[in-house]
Assembly symmetry: C2
Homo-oligomer: 205 residues x 2
């Protein structure tokens, strides 16, 4: 029936509105500010609808996290297949909206056991993707201690960019310019060495 389809679409629309509102609050005011009432206020609907569509609050947070993880996975894959993958990963990790939300989820994980497992699983997933990628990259360069560096490099990139975003949120920027310049320089150089412009240009023919 057409009415069933319409109802389903409407339901999806409400779910999206709730998730969007939750995400906005979480980004701007932190996970602690996310409540069914604040979501309702932001999305322009009644707080009980949150429970109707998502069950308990834990499930809402899980749904939001999974949506975010999917989105991040796409951006992550794009960064990895860029001509300068290390620098692209670095810039992606520097994106304030993305990283800010990730940090909030980590904070949330300290409070809610059901969330912690998901965050941990997701973090390990991306870490594994990055380590594998960098390992291949270093091997193709003939680097000797590729095993250690392939773990260290992605870890440092993510940790440092995360710290930059965190401090920016606190209104601090001491030394940030130096850190940005240093990593842009070093990562670009490594990218250029692993994926020389000539090879790329030849490969595309």
């Amino acid at each position: 029936m057409a009415s069933e389809r319409k109802a389903r679409e409407h339901s999806l629309k409400t779910r999206k509105a709730i998730l969007d509102a939750a995400e906005k609050i979480m980004r701007e005011e932190g996970y602690a500010a996310v409540s069914s009432r604040r979501i309702a206020e932001t999305a322009g609907l009644k707080s009980q609808l949150v429970y109707y569509h998502f069950g308990v609050m834990d499930d809402l947070f899980l749904a939001l996290f999974q949506r975010e993880e999917e989105r991040f996975f796409v951006e992550h894959a794009r960064a990895m297949s860029a001509p300068n993958p290390l620098r692209a990963l670095w810039r992606l990790s520097l994106d304030p909206p993305t990283t800010r939300l990730t940090q909030e989820f980590v904070g949330l994980a300290n409070e809610r056991t059901s969330i912690r497992k998901e965050i941990a699983r997701s973090k390990q997933r991306f870490r594994s993707l990055q380590t594998t990628f960098v390992a291949r990259m270093l091997e193709s360069l003939g680097v000797g201690d590729a095993s250690e560096l392939s773990h260290v490099l992605p870890f440092v990139v993510v940790a440092v960019s995360s710290a930059l975003v965190s401090e920016k949120g606190l209104g601090i920027s001491d030394g940030h310019a130096a850190v940005l310049a240093y990593f842009d320089k070093k990562l670009s150089a490594l990218d250029a060495e692993a994926f020389p412009a000539e090879a790329r240009s030849l490969a595309s023919h």
Copy 2:
């Protein structure tokens, strides 16, 4: 009067008990779990005493932070004057109790404006101390681009150790061994270069 002195001592004891309880809860369950009632329960006293001794909750958090900052400053100074200062700073930043609490205060800063300024001020203070210290160290080594590195090095050390502690809290340890080995090695080497054992041994005579 002796009774006045006794009362003052008792008051200090209560204040300490409250701060200790708040710190314990914050460490174990996160800043969101710190409430006057939970403090009272943990410290074995009435929740109203929290307000009597500290005014509003913001002031309690400020008092706790300042106590913690003082403690950290002492440890920080000790690390800087160690024979291998960079590695000592690295190990200090890796201390879970210290770093875990710092991270909770950063989260708290997202919620409470009055706290944010204090956290930012303190972070800048330590950053400045570290940058100055590393700059002198690199200059004595005759490093050319000492200005950039003196900003990058402390930033990376703090960011990476913070990320290690954070992940450990989530139950993740993928690649941690490699990161630990790498930084221990690199920082120790830099320390040894700047403060050779012979120079130290001669200077102490």
